[in-house]
Symmetry: C2
Subunit: 120 residues, 2 copies
């Protein structure tokens, strides 16, 4: 059963709307992790994490393996491409004078990143 494109987008955006799940995805960019490892930064219970993982799995954003007693999660960022593609249609509406000031915007972005780095 193949998920409809719209339903897939629903699931992806919905999965990304929770800060815990976004943190889990960010963590997974550093490599696969077991449920307990993913749970470590949080105060919530293990079943809560398992629920979040199920949401991420339904959105196609992670895949599960079996390794010993663990079920490590692996990032699958592919569905994010769909979300980005949808958002790209709006780029012209937030990047005023897209063509001319492209470079300026890049500069601003870099400045912001630098400032954030300074704060840590």
């Amino acid at each position: 059963m193949v998920m409809q494109e719209a339903d897939q987008l629903d699931a992806v955006f919905s999965a990304l709307s929770d800060p815990t799940r976004r943190a889990i995805l960010s963590r997974l960019t550093a490599g696969d992790a077991s449920v307990n490892e993913l749970r470590a930064p949080f105060t919530m219970s293990q079943p809560a994490i398992s629920k979040h993982l199920k949401v991420l799995e339904r959105a196609g954003l992670i895949e599960r393996r079996v390794a010993r007693q663990q079920r490590p999660a692996r990032l699958n960022a592919a569905p994010m491409a769909q979300a980005v593609r949808w958002l790209d249609d709006f780029k012209q509406f937030w990047a005023p004078s897209f063509d001319q000031f492209d470079t300026l915007l890049e500069d601003l972005k870099r400045d912001k990143t630098t400032r954030e780095a300074d704060n840590e």
Copy 2:
């Protein structure tokens, strides 16, 4: 009261997770529209549309005006930039593999599926 960056992301992704709201945003790229105009493509009631608009407004994705009896909505795509910036960090996890290893990955996936099928 300024919304926290994370809360803002929550609100944006959450707002985008509904197909009706995405359709409304797409419609607004063609210009401002009244509630009735936005309602036209759908079968749902007017209050339902008003609720969706409230969600979009809380996420900062639209702004409301007052014009005669109408309260037209205007697209404000700026908060989408934040979402795209967050997603950009994951680009490397879906983009690079695409070109060179597309076929290889498909092969691996097929092998895995085959193995799983064998186990059942």
